[in-house]
């Protein structure tokens, strides 16, 4: 898959991977859904980064004079029961949503790839122990497992991220192990071993580059469900603590005011669904670009 590592050369691969990147972005940009999705995700990232600079009001302090005000020129998205500006809170919430999506998937990817590559390369009892324990995790319902983990760790933003990462790790491990198994028997790996390359170097320089493309596709596809899983946890009160806004906790509070202030429900849901769609389409686009063989096979992601 990676042309650079098919040679027996030992020092080349890392350098050879670089020129691919601009081509990859350009291809993504030319992909019909990819450009749109990338733009939406970038918009959310931008909102997340600039956050309080763009937000018209402080997301966490309200004016009691304008409690539950309907959307108007002053408050575009209306205000909540404490007079806090919904637009500012939705913007502030995007910081949490983006952070959680990237962080939890990145953690799961790191752990999963490490476990998968080690299991695939070494085989034997390490493989079966890792496999069995992953099977147990894999069998459990996503949200239920995340809730149980949060129950153990205690509610909170980072613990929720950790819980999602744990839940997602087995998928990455499984995929990485499968790719590692195919690379393991290849001739160039035999050549590297005969040339006396150390085990660590083989894993990092030869296994990793071959495992990565499929893992990146899975990571892109996991972003949207990870974001939703976190929103669910937060909705259940297991995410951020009160003054801080995120979409899940905003919706959980908005439920009490649903008859008088429907805008409190509408905007967080809109943001959530938009980001979810963008992540979904982006994931599909990245898969199409990186892995053309699966371009037509579309299965719906397993929502929580």
């Amino acid at each position: 898959m990676n042309p650079s590592s098919t040679g027996a050369a030992v020092a080349l691969p890392a350098a050879a991977a670089v020129p691919r990147r601009p081509a990859f972005l350009a291809q993504l940009w030319r992909h019909k859904g990819g450009a749109f999705a990338l733009a939406v995700v970038l918009l959310f990232v931008l909102l997340a980064v600039s956050g309080r600079l763009v937000a018209p009001y402080d997301p966490n302090t309200g004016e009691l004079a304008s409690m539950l005000a309907a959307p108007s020129g002053r408050h575009w998205f209306g205000t909540d029961e404490l007079g806090r500006d919904t637009l500012s809170r939705v913007i502030d919430g995007s910081r949490i949503a983006i952070t959680v999506a990237f962080l939890s998937v990145a953690l799961a990817m790191l752990a999963g790839v490490a476990i998968g590559v080690v299991a695939g390369y070494f085989g034997g009892w390490i493989d079966s122990v890792l496999n069995r324990s992953q099977d147990v995790l894999f069998a459990f319902p996503t949200l239920l497992l995340a809730i149980i983990i949060v129950a153990v760790l205690g509610p909170g933003l980072f613990n929720a991220v950790l819980a999602i990462a744990v839940v997602y790790t087995p998928r990455f491990a499984r995929l990485a192990r499968a790719s590692a198994l195919t690379v393991k028997t290849s001739e160039y790996l035999d050549a590297a071993r005969l040339a006396g390359v150390s085990t660590g170097a083989i894993l990092v320089r030869h296994m990793l580059p071959n495992v990565l493309p499929s893992v990146i596709v899975l990571a892109a596809l996991s972003m949207s469900t990870a974001q939703l899983a976190y929103a669910s946890l937060s909705f259940l009160g297991l995410g951020v603590s009160p003054p801080q806004a995120d979409w899940g906790s905003m919706l959980s509070k908005a439920r009490d005011f649903i008859t008088v202030a429907p805008w409190l429900v509408a905007w967080p849901v809109a943001a959530l669904v938009l980001l979810m769609l963008a992540f979904n389409i982006l994931g599909d686009a990245i898969r199409d670009v990186l892995d053309p063989r699966h371009a037509t096979a579309t299965g719906p992601a397993n929502a929580v």
Binding site: P141, L143, V152, P155, L236, L272, A301
Partner: protein
Amino acid sequence: MLRIVLSRAGAMAAVLFAVSALVFALGSLIPGDLTSVIVGQEGATREQFEQVRRDLGLDQPLPVQYVRWLGHALQGDLGTSPITGRKVAADLAQQIPVSVELAVLCLLFSTLLGLPAGIAAAVHANRRLDVIIRAQLLVAFSMPTFVIGILLLLVGSRVAPELFQMAFTPWSQDPAAHIRSMIMPLATITLPMAAMTMQMTRSAMLEVLSDPFIVTARAMGVPLQRIQYLHALRNALPPIVTFVGFQFGVMLGGLIVVEQIFSLPGLGRAMLEAISTRDYPMVTATTLVFAMAFVLINAVIDMLYPVLDPRQRPR
């Protein structure tokens, strides 16, 4: 057949034993322990602290604690909640029926909706009806349960305020009010489940419909309806049942969400409340019940497989 059931039951008991040990170990991993909840953080002397710890048996090593807890649990005693002061088992006896009712009704209605829709979609594959059904499915698929619930609340509060305002009423108090209070929660959890059942039915049916025996049946003049519902569906059932069972497990998570949205006094809500109040005996008990339900569902599906598919039966 009996031997299979017995060996399955044995394996299940082993799994449940492992699960209970795991849940208990997890429970003792929770930062802080029961003592601090009971005694309170301030004003307690060291002696009082130690006294409570001794009374609860928390000064014993973990395996000893586990065996004692398991012994009590097997006799139906899951401890007493330090928060409510009630017996955990008594609370569970109240909460489990609510959750089970919701789960069973969800399974029933989602099958009643999803199966015919899936068959219709497969028969009309890639024509307008199929496309419409699948477009709706995609929406239901990708939304998390709580978003569906909250949107239903939003619509419900406008269209049918009498349904929206229903607080949970037990069946024994007023059956009619009970049914009305369950409609919204049921719709929330049934929609995504029905969508998945439909999707699975569609693909399983499509596979079977291209089999030679269907062509033979048609050539012999068997009515089309009969072919679809009898010949094809019967053969498409095993994968559908497996998948529905798997989704049923996934739905346990949705159950927690739905109970929270609609304030149903079920197991999921009890679990969330226990987590936030650090009610350890309750957290352990509810977690255990959920894990057991999941293991049980999977075991039942494994046993259904040879019933549905004669090729899977041992000779």
